[in-house]
Amino acid sequence: MAIFEAILELADDHLVLGHRISEWCGHAPMLEEDLAMPNMALDLIGTSRTLYDHAGKLEGKGQSEDDLAYLRGEREYRNCLLVERPNEDFAHTMLRSLYFAAFMRPYWLKTLEMTNDETVRGVAGKAEKEMAYHIRHAGEWVIRLGDGTEESAARMRDAVAALHIYTDELFESSPAAAEAERAGVLPVRADLRAAWDEVIGQVFAEAFLEAPEVPYPQTGGRKGLHGEGLGHLLAEMQSVYRAHPGATW
């Protein structure tokens, strides 16, 4: 059961972030980004689907990927707070993706080395490359915005101030995740700090950004203690599915 929950945490992270990025579709700052951002969202949603499907099988109660995605409310969602943060502007959106991908890339690489779960290994092999590209794409944008115009630099600094407080949670293992780590299914989150720091440090140096001290990191997502935005995201996402119980789409 703990492993089911740990996989669910990962699936929720990917779905919620993919959903957030998909909100941009048709509204990007330039047409090229209207193609780039859906690519990112599709990577994330694709990973979430495999993970939900796997979680449902581990649980063994016949829940499908859609049951898990569409029938749990905000107190049952287990994503970290970073991924649910609203898009705000392009600076926030790119920074949020950079923070997440800079964590997930080493996470999946580590997973490839250690996991005893074949499905998780399959996900890791594919997602590691996707996250490498997300780091590049989001990272290059953070550099351009940080070292662009006065306005873009100010917006980039605002984004860092707004989002950095959510990054510590990435390295926290919930009791369920800790059990999956002990069972050799998933890597230890806290061990990935150095790899994350290195990527963020490189990008920030080129972007003339500074990582702020965070005396009071925001956490709680793994316990279902979210911001107010997630409820709206889920209400929207789940509206059609929940209005027609039992229907096939």
Binding site: M30, L31, E32, L35, A36, N39, R136, H137, E140, R144
Partner: protein
Amino acid sequence: MTQTTPLWEVFIRPRNGLSHKHVGSIHAADEVMAVQAARDVYTRRGEGTSIWVVRSADIVASDPDQAGENFEPTADKIYRHPTFYEIPEEVGHM
């Protein structure tokens, strides 16, 4: 006044063994973003294994007004083609 983002021509190698082929163009401010845009726009269905981008402004093209003098003089040089020469059938494929 609207600033315009430079235009780039995109060339994709569909798979190793084939040459890069022009597939279209994209807009990007610099070469790094141009390669990423080309990747995101033109390789969504596994169309490529390698990408070239070149600023459209940097392409040097032949002058369309010189098309006649450039390309028509070769039309009568038929001796450059193998079918110009007659080899008896008994000799076999050559």
